[in-house]
Subunit: 518 residues, 2 copies
């Protein structure tokens, strides 16, 4: 690596802890020393990213590292130099590992060096994107328009950045609630005053955050009907129809159906067109949890799999998963901008809007969600799409699905392992053929691979059985990684057979309860 | 400025849009070219921060800039070089302006160069901090322990990063709801099944997000009692007692009182000790919205103003305001970790926790809030506190309060302006002495200063009267800036008197409705 362009390491700290406690401000006392220090930090992180393959996927944080973060509040600062040294020594080696090409545990994106630079710029500008009249809001609207275009929504669809799909799914429930009950002024009066009990529907394979959204909103988790899935892990349409009819007969008020595009455990996709038909016939809000699967639209080859997406009332998804925007960057897109705004906008906010100046503007992001303080998530997303283009991003998505098929081929050819679910997109669920009911071998293999730092698959439960899951998101993962991973699995299985048995899993799974936390 | 340490600008783009659409990955094809490009971007942003004073606080985005963000989804990427050029041309000049020393419009922090570097490192690691066994969670727990120490909470208090206080206040309401109704399994059953209607209490000066939290949770905004405030804009304790008694007599269920430490309009602080007494006597959850005011504890001089904070059940506040951590970095701290966890943890999550490896660990952040995908907000916060130390950060907070008193002095000495509220902390509310009922002059002055780019105060309503508000948060603001600002105000008032009258404000303020959106 050519390091000749780097600035020399400075002698003193750029941001010293001053002797007196009345500093002019928190800017560097010596900008050139700060500049040199910053460049050193940037170089070190670029080196880290360029040499990922040389290091383990994951390492248990050392006792010394953990101890470093159990100190009292420091009265005096240690300056930037020392903090950067602590970072390199105690933080960088013990990260989550999802940037590594052999990480395939959960539905997590890998980030990109481009995204890192964009995030640095956003932090430099430090704009609060809750509202007002500045360009960050135009960039956010650009992302909404792009996604509307990609999903086949009207181009005036309304969108807002959130942390992730957990929050976006919660917002969808609030928009659906307002849509169903707007004339009853549910925002003002609350749920207890209502005559009817709202009920919602999703697949039993739906992510736990859909149930959580029912809790947060006060609707109650038990009023989410978790509908049986079929052999391909998609929601059973006949069961959905039956459940709606039963609830109507019982005097309940069906208001929302949540389709899943890319189930957390298996990557399965519900029949979105059939759900759209039912939602229309039954006058339900049709929301899609497309946390990762929605972005399959960027691949012409995969797009047919999410047919029906274009008919949803709203879609929740994450740019930090399959688009590798740095964490966090979730998004919530709503077909009808007025329905979106009605669920959140407050009269109070309008009064402060001025005809001119910084407080001007029509609709602010704070009218479209629960956040008022918000970072500039649109910037790293805009950079990602502008730098790489939709076609290349779609090609990376397609590649990870092809890698999943490659792994499926290996599993099917293995003497040791067998497949446990169809591969709908990029998630491969498999296990040891002769594992016992407790899933001892599967569990041991996963922990073994983590601890060795070789690879990071995850463990999930499918129909109650502990199952190994490889979720292939990382744009850095190659065919040779998949081939190596298969070898690692075989070796880990051999090692695991020599181990003493594990204690049983802590508690049995509750019926219909979604499991995974991605 | 010495630019000799900078790398030369590269000739080619570091991340080109490749001719073929099947790239190996989204890493640079040429790491050294990417390195040079990144250093250039870093240098440009450091230059921008080092020369803030040479530019206007704010500029209306140009038509060309707005047009740049109204394009179709690009199929092909333009590469990093071109995207960075677009950033410098169309985004950087038209930012929100809160990093500028003459920005004093809303309760917004100014960021720091140190925070920018930390955010870059966090984006490089790209850890998802929803859970699992990696060091980011230790850093987040360190921040919780530090804040527990600073606020006088037990050191095992439980904390979680969120976007901002809007979300933290919402979480507080959910913890309080669970605390009040846990045995009725409200998470599962919902609110409609309850016999009782929950009611909460806050000052009429409380931030709108407290009301919003009641809406989100399904409790209904009208079940938040907005209690009258006194001459110092603090909640009237006698009125609170009366309201609780009335509600109990009416068969309602008081469950939560929200104290305000640093009201959005005036910076006023409720009598937190008196609220703690009432909460104890009435068995209410005592939450404090300390969005900015809570961090006054870092100044020994200011700490007595927030006496009683240490008795709260939970506190919501933002590191991105008075601690200048880059957006966004809100925090929610709860005295009783078990009460915190009970409101959010799902059985589903536990099952995936392994005895060893990456999926190990006891309590994960996803057990303490609504997010599962979460960036590494703890890192920029840790850097800020480690680099500067609590004493220096407290001194900056103290300085901004001293500057507010300086501005008050100027206003009181002015022939043109008069004070409109006491200065409790760092917020100065004032207006033109002989303005009309519509507040024409005050409104015009604020817009005029925005448009000229000289300064950015804001307009708010106090007792229905349009009022100019200077919220002094920025660590870069100096005494000379305050003196200059006073001159700008006088000149703007003269100019405004020559202007034609404005149209009236769009709608009258609803009784007791909080106004400002910070």
């Amino acid at each position: 690596m050519n390091h000749s362009q780097r600035p020399p390491k400075p002698i003193g700290a750029a941001v010293p802890a001053p002797a007196d406690a009345s500093p002019a401000d928190l800017d560097p006392t010596d900008w050139e020393a700060f500049r040199a220090e910053s460049h050193r930090a940037l170089d070190a992180m670029i080196d880290h990213l360029a040499t990922l393959r040389e290091r383990p996927v994951w390492r248990e944080p050392s006792a010394e590292a953990r101890e470093r973060f159990r100190r009292p509040l420091p009265a005096e600062g240690q300056g930037l130099s020392a903090a950067l040294e602590d970072f390199e020594r105690f933080i960088q080696p013990y990260a989550n590992g999802n940037i590594h090409p052999l990480f395939m545990g959960w539905a997590q994106g890998a980030g990109t060096p481009v995204g890192m630079i964009a995030e640095m710029l956003a932090a430099g500008l430090n704009s609060n994107c809750g509202g007002r009249n500045h360009i960050a809001l135009d960039v956010e609207r650009q992302i909404a328009a792009w996604m509307a275009e990609a999903f086949g929504f009207p181009l005036d669809a309304s969108g807002v950045f959130v942390t992730g799909t957990s929050i976006a799914n919660f917002l969808s429930l609030l928009v659906a609630r307002e849509h169903a009950l707007g004339e009853k002024n549910v925002r003002k009066n609350g749920l207890k005053a209502l005559e009817e009990q709202l009920v919602a529907y999703a697949s039993r394979e739906a992510h736990n955050c859909v149930r959580q959204a029912m809790e947060l909103a006060g609707l109650g988790a038990r009023h989410l009907r978790l509908i049986e899935s079929d052999g391909s892990h998609s929601l059973r349409i006949d069961e959905l129809k039956r459940a709606i009819a039963e609830d109507r007969a019982a005097g309940l008020h069906p208001f929302l159906v949540v389709g899943t595009a890319g189930a957390v455990d298996t990557g399965a996709i519900d029949d979105l067109d059939a759900l759209a038909d039912i939602a229309k016939a039954e006058d339900l809000w049709f929301h899609i949890d497309g946390a990762f699967g929605a972005l399959a639209v960027l691949s012409p080859a995969l797009k047919p799999l999410v047919k029906g997406l274009e008919r949803a009332d709203s879609i929740a998804f994450d740019f930090h998963k399959w688009l590798h925007v740095p964490y966090d960057a979730g998004f919530f897109l709503v077909r009808d901008p007025e329905a979106h705004r009605r669920a959140f906008a407050a009269n109070a906010a309008y009064l402060t809007r001025a005809p001119r100046g910084l407080a001007a503007g029509e609709i602010w992001p704070c009218d479209l969600g629960a956040d008022l303080s918000r970072g500039f998530r649109a910037l790293k997303t805009w950079f990602t799409i502008e730098v790489f283009g939709a076609r290349r991003l779609g090609a990376c998505i397609e590649k990870s699905c092809a890698l999943a098929q490659r792994l499926r081929g290996h599993i099917e050819a293995s003497q040791t392992f067998e497949m446990r679910a169809p591969v709908a997109l990029n998630v491969v669920c498999f296990g040891v053929k002769d594992d016992d009911e407790s899933g001892r071998l599967n569990r041991e293999i996963v922990m073994e691979l983590h601890e060795s730092g070789e690879a990071a698959p995850s463990l999930t439960l499918l129909d109650g059985h502990p199952t190994i899951r490889a979720a292939i998101f990382n744009h850095r993962t190659r065919e040779t990684d998949i081939d190596d991973f298969m070898q690692m699995l075989e070796r880990a299985a051999q090692r695991a057979r020599g181990e003493p048995p594990l204690a049983p899993l802590p508690t049995p799974r509750e019926e219909g309860e979604p499991l995974s936390q991605d």
